[in-house]
Amino acid sequence: MTEPVISVRDLRVWYGSERGPVRAVDGVTFDLRPGETLGLVGESGCGKSTLGRGVLGLLPRGAKLAGEVNYEGRNLVTASPKAIQRLRGPDLGLIFQEPLTRLNPLLRISDQFEETLRTHEPGLSKQDIRHRSIEVLRAMGIPPTRYRAYPHEFSGGMRQRIMIALALVLRPSFVVADEPTTALDVLVEAQIIGILGDLRRNFDTSLLFITHNLGIVAEACDRVAVMYAGRIVEQGPVTEVFARPQHPYTRELLRSTISLSTTGLHYIPGAPPDLIEPPSGCRFHPRCPSAMRVCPEQFPEQVEVGPQRVECWLHGPDELVPEGGREPLVREEITVADEA
């Protein structure tokens, strides 16, 4: 197997708040190989976007980062801001969710490309810049005649393609795509996913694809990581995870998707947990249909189940489960609290 492009180990991100630290990402570990696309799914507020930003060191003021993000033999978590800034663009890319507000409204598209290319390749001539930018734009379906237009002269879908072109003009080897199609209609969505697929085939770009659309994951990703309350509870090849989900949360999530044959909506009762004081033990136990007595008491170990890695007591390891731990969890207090 080839060496991973990026390898994340026990990454933690937390924000200070009046009630204590908000642990948005709480010990996440994953690898990405060249040309591989990892889908990152989970409910809103589970820490997906924070994880994507944390890997690139692009966190808002007041956020703290710990753990390892290994890229080309360097730990980005401890690297200087200057060093990461140099990597952002030519090595690490980020595609955003809201295309309408991501382009500086006062600068022509050409200015924004020029700035990006000049920052990382100072020796480039104006001719080269123009040539390379137009080439990438053309690949995204933006005609060269619009190279000198302003952002407000484009539609949302076009702006998202321009944003992608801006992120890709330097050919980064690792790209985080943070819900790149959420704000767009389905036709444009298909187009963007096609573009990202081409990228992977042609340039061996590794992609961390953040989405809450499981259909897109099935279509566009090689592997999938399911996130719940700041942790990856299950990861593995998409086909395996979707066919045989091992974590109850993954199973519930897959049951909640809507298709043409859907007759009634399935949802997971309860709300995503508080990230300041998360539930004890396994974070999913208050909402888990298969919760056992061990679940609120001890944090589940990561176990390998076939090609998947899962954090769930259902899969053992048996020697760690205490006496009577496999009895179903009785949840009277919670029901009472829910009704109160």
Binding site: F96, T101, L103, N104, L106, E115, T145, M163
Partner: protein, 343 residues
Amino acid sequence: MSTRTAGSLRTYLITRVVLFVPQVLVILTIVFVLMRVAPGDPVTVALGGQRSPEQLAQLRAAAGYDRSIFVQYWEYISGIVRFDLGTTIVDSRPVTQIFKVNGGATLTLTSSALVIALLIGVPLGLIAGRVRDTGLDAGLRVFGILTYAAPVFFLGLIFQLVFARNLGWLPSSSQASPLVLARVPSETNIFLVDALLAGDSAAFWNGVQHLILPALTLGLLLSGVFMRIVRINLIQTLRSDYVEAARARGVSEGNVVIRHAFRNALVPFVTILGLQVALLLGGAILTEQTFNWNGIGSQLVRYLDSRDYVAVQGIITLVALAVVTASLLIDIINAIIDPRVRY
């Protein structure tokens, strides 16, 4: 593409200039009505106790105040088109003469104050927005409040006391020393320009020394406002999506702040700058009084004291025109900075 953009800029400018006409008309009508709302006719108010009723009636007829209000309105508007704002009652001076003689002093004062305010306010706002919530930022914000809240005459008096009386560094009043004023021939009625035209560098330097304290007083008043506007807009744009996107492309911090955040922060700043012209002119009246600066402001106060409504109406009319013109210029500048305005 670029020709289309230039074309729409031209269309925008033409529309904006055409809209200038009704805007001015509304303002002139308001000035006219306000002056007529005051009780009594201007002649009686100004000279009531000093002339006999027959003389007053004669003066009223001569000035046209016995005619219907619509005729007077027409006279007023058409007078402005001919650049005739009437003749003052107390000293029979054409109002335009006031602007010719005293306008230069006010122009010198306000423009140098504006430059000082920009030079102090914009960089301080940039720094404060950049280091927000630090001790330095808190200090700068206090500076912003104090300079805005301190009355002009108070600040002016403090400056006169410290720099003119105690330290003796700078003169405390007037545009230049009396002998220098008498020596330089009036060509443009802008003292510094006249001094240059006369080739009198000593007089020019003397004028600059006299300008420093009043310009600083008025400039500081505005600089606090400018600083706070730049600061708050920079904080907004630094938090914006396109700034984060620029950072994600590895754009250097200096470029992120200047090209992305600051340039976008300038759009609302320029708009507010247009509104501050009124503050500038209002502050100029007080500054001129404090520093015995013989500009439009001093003249306005003098004619107000003697209740000369014609003079007051004329001065207010021209000041209002200046404010409207400034807002036109601001809109044009904004259209050049921000391509979205042109649509």
